[in-house]
Symmetry: C2
Subunit: 107 residues, 2 copies
């Protein structure tokens, strides 16, 4: 069973930033990684992913650059900024708080 988008909502940006903390990556790969890490339970749809990228870049949390692939389709890489790292820590703390609160409420 997969996780509904309403539950995931609000975490996409944090999830993306978490990924970029480990290493620069590109959309397609990030998408695959997330599914793999969660045994296909979490899937960020492409449209969702790209709109999140746009917001994150707008906010200055990520930067992008084109990879220099010799073969295959071009890749647009994303890397997290210092501001993004700080934002991630906030997201993370918010998640811990929300988790505790919801655990409190769902008996």
């Amino acid at each position: 069973m997969s996780i509904t988008s309403d539950i995931l909502r609000g975490h996409t940006e944090a999830i993306i930033l978490a990924h970029l903390l480990e290493q620069d990556s590109y959309g397609y790969q990030i998408n695959k990684d997330i599914m793999k890490k969660t045994d296909n339970r979490c899937e960020l749809k492409e449209a969702t992913l790209y709109s999140a990228f746009r917001r994150l870049e707008q906010a200055g949390y990520i930067r992008t650059y084109w990879g220099d692939e010799k073969v295959g389709a071009r890749r647009r890489y994303y890397s997290i900024t210092e501001e993004g790292r700080r934002a991630y820590q906030v997201y993370k703390r918010e998640w811990e708080e929300a988790k505790a609160a919801i655990d409190q409420l769902l008996i």
Copy 2:
């Protein structure tokens, strides 16, 4: 600091059902209880609450009746149905799964 609505989104119905598992209650009280239980970190806004009530009733998860207050404003009470209890178990399980998945993703 309060929990963003995007994180809470998707849990309002579960939170309400959880409350009604304990006892019948009414909108205003449920609202207060939730805030109290979470030290004012979670607040379901009234408009949010009432639209959730509508959905829950539509789905057959709750039933409503008017209280017989002798004094003060009238109260519309809500009670959870058998179907609602089953639905809650599903919500609860979804939450546990989502929690695990997100914990996996946010390093």
